[in-house]
């Protein structure tokens, strides 16, 4: 009965046989015929990937202590790569979060300027008085406010109108004019009183708001008694004191009045700059659209300062990845690969008898080579996984102790583990080739 089974598959196999002298034309036909008649061996009964993995895992598991030593090099190499990239990404994350808090939500637009023949700077455009309203319609803009420095000339700002010749001459605080929405656009805070509103602006009311430092200098710390200050000989009611202006800290030292008032009383020609508070990430969009909203005919005449977009930021930080550590990691990985190659070669030499036996039992050269390749790939993958896990762990631990938030791309961790497998693949190629070329009978007679 067993004889019949054997006979059943032998003929189809032997039909591969080529007639002498007709080899070239016979082969494809014979192959087709072989498929058409009946496969010699059912696919599920052949030596499959599952068999390969089982055989390889026995080879790997045979010597656990050696396995540990073998993977060590790969573990170190992969771990140092992951740690290096992990720290680079973590510090990039730190920089980015600081950057976000300070400037990533701020856009500043100024009229462009050119120099005339005498070297004097000349504005080539003028911000419209309603710039704030124009840009606040854009997507991504939260608040926008105008600001302008008011030239004082030799006019003094004092709390009392009396000209006391004996008093030491004090330096007047600078005088600024803003729109009502500026305070929010620069994230200022009212300490006492209030900021002026657009009504004050439109009517040109003689009201001022003091920066905290200026108020201290002038000697005003409360506004419920409606104190006045004098700019030149005109009196202005102080309605509020502000602080916490992160974007334009010079506001703290200044006396601030509505734009409309500045136009009426001091003949202010045009605003100096437009401060825009935007949503995070809208920098590009606002930088492109705001000049068009301000002057559709000549948007190029405005200078825009917008925060760097995320990709630019990442690029600039990724260049900072420590090259030295990457090279060290690569060297460790190379050493790990050589270690795998060495140990796999040793294992091939030790298992010459096994290789010969498998060949005698019907294994092809390819079966043998793939078994050793799989063994070294698995060893490399194991080293990669352990190294990657150690690297992630190290990044997390150090970040925790430093109070940073650890950042590591998931693909870096996974890719590093796979890189270990690639190292194993490369390292195993030569030993596997050696194994597949071992002469079976020499191996089988040599003992072991």
């Amino acid at each position: 009965m067993k004889l019949q089974r054997w006979l059943a598959h032998l003929p189809t196999r032997l039909r591969f046989a080529r007639a002498p002298g007709k080899a070239a034309e016979a082969t494809p036909k014979a192959a087709l015929e072989n498929v058409a008649v009946a496969p010699a061996v059912k696919h599920s009964d052949r030596f499959l990937v599952q068999d390969l993995i089982i055989e390889a895992s026995f080879g790997i598991g045979a010597r656990p202590s050696r396995l540990i030593m073998t993977t060590l090099g790969t573990v170190l190499g992969i771990a140092s790569l992951v740690v290096t990239i992990g720290f680079a990404q973590t510090t990039a994350g730190q920089i980015a979060s600081q950057f976000d808090a300070v400037a990533a939500t701020q856009v500043v637009i100024e009229p462009g300027s050119s120099r005339d023949a005498r070297g004097k700077s000349q504005s080539t455009a003028r911000l419209p008085w309603d710039s704030g309203e124009r840009v606040e319609r854009l997507a991504g803009v939260e608040r926008a406010g105008l600001i302008a420095a008011v030239p004082l000339g030799d006019v003094a700002i004092t709390a009392v109108p009396v000209n006391d010749p004996s008093a030491a001459e004090t330096l007047s605080p600078p005088l600024l004019a803003t729109s009502a929405s500026l305070l929010e656009a620069v994230r200022g805070r009212v300490v006492t009183g209030r900021y002026f509103d657009s009504g004050h602006d439109t009517r040109g009311d003689r009201v001022v708001v003091l920066g905290a430092n200026a108020a201290e200098k002038i000697g005003i710390n409360r506004v419920d008694s409606q104190p006045s200050i004098f700019i030149g000989d005109r009196s202005y009611t102080v309605i509020g004191i502000i602080t916490g202006v992160e974007r334009r800290s010079d506001l703290l030292d200044s006396v601030i009045l509505p734009l409309g008032t500045a136009r009426a009383d001091f003949g202010l020609p045009s605003p100096d700059e437009l401060q825009i508070q935007i949503q995070t990430g809208a920098g590009d969009l606002v930088a492109r659209q705001a000049p068009i909203a301000l002057d559709p005919n000549a948007p190029e005449n405005f200078t825009v300062q917008a925060p760097a977009t995320k990709s630019e930021l990442q690029e600039s930080v990724q260049a900072d990845i420590n090259i030295v550590f990457l090279i060290l990691g690569a060297i460790a990985l190379l050493a790990g690969g050589l270690g795998i190659a060495n140990v796999t070669l040793l294992s091939v030499m030790e298992r010459v008898g096994e290789i010969g036996l498998r060949r005698a039992l019907g294994a092809t050269k390819r079966n043998i080579a793939s078994q050793f390749i799989v063994e070294s790939v698995v060893i490399g993958l194991l080293g990669g996984l352990i190294g990657s896990a150690l690297g992630v762990f190290a990044v997390v631990i150090v970040s925790l102790t430093q109070g940073w938030s650890p950042v590591l791309d998931i693909w870096v961790a996974l890719g590093a583990a796979l890189l270990g497998a690639v190292v194993g693949l490369v390292a195993g190629a030569y030993p596997a080739n050696r194994a597949s070329n071992i002469e079976p009978i020499t191996a089988l007679r040599g003992g072991t």
Partner: protein, 238 residues
């Protein structure tokens, strides 16, 4: 070009010998050229029990290589079951080797970290024995050699005779046409080698074609046919 179909082939098998060497020469090039086998003619019929004896260096290894499809003759034809083996590709030769030829070696060649059963199952791995049958056949083979109580032992815990019996079970598990034993008693003492030879003879009595390569005259004399190889040339003794 070749026999037209299964019917023609199976009828030829009835008459064709299991092994037929026609004028086989195997020479190794390079000065000086060595002819390990010279114009050997040998016919082994189904059910034959043959021993090949000869001093070392006489060409026994090469004979084993050629018979076991591990080497190709330089000149001449090797027909296995009536088919000319020189026409097979390397992979096909490996498959025929796995399916049609069983090997037993002097050094046993059992895998030390695998159980007795696993060692026998190894022989079913590469030659397409149906997966569902494998364990059953391995147990049957171990039963046949009287080791069914040692299935989960590691080879290292067995005696030499038991190890060789495991190797025999591995050799016969895929029902080979031809069993090639290379010095099967070389590592055994007189008693256990007698046991192993008895086992071989039982298998032969069941219809197995058996070729034993040895330098031990006592072992060789138990065979029905004895062939001596000297200086690459073959002479039938009995």
């Amino acid at each position: 070009m070749i026999s037209p179909g299964a019917i023609g082939l199976s009828s030829s098998v009835e008459t064709a010998p299991v092994v037929e060497l026609i004028n086989v020469t195997r020479s190794f090039p390079g000065p000086p050229e060595v002819q390990a086998l010279r114009a050997v003619n040998l016919r082994i019929d189904a059910g034959d029990y043959l021993s090949i004896v000869g001093p070392s260096g006489s060409g026994k290894s090469t004979m084993l290589n050629v018979l076991g499809l591990l080497d190709r003759p330089s000149v001449g034809e090797y027909h296995l079951d009536g088919q000319l083996t020189s026409l097979l590709s390397e992979d096909d030769r490996a498959a025929v080797r796995g399916g049609s030829i069983g090997f037993v070696f002097q050094a046993f060649h059992l895998l030390p970290h695998r159980s007795v059963l696993d060692n026998v199952l190894l022989a079913t791995l590469y030659n397409g024995v149906p997966r569902a049958e494998r364990e059953h056949r391995a147990r049957a083979a171990l039963d046949r050699v009287g080791l069914n109580h040692r299935l989960n032992f590691l080879p290292g815990t067995l005696s030499g005779g038991e190890r060789q019996r495991v190797a025999v079970a591995r050799a016969v598990v895929s029902s080979p046409r031809l069993l090639l034993a290379d010095e099967p008693t070389g590592n055994l003492d007189a008693t256990t080698s007698g046991e192993v030879m008895n086992l071989f003879e039982e298998l032969h009595a069941d219809g197995l074609t058996l070729v034993i390569i040895t330098h031990d005259v006592a072992v060789a004399e138990r065979a029905q046919r004895r062939v001596r190889i000297a200086d690459g040339q073959l002479s039938e003794l009995a």
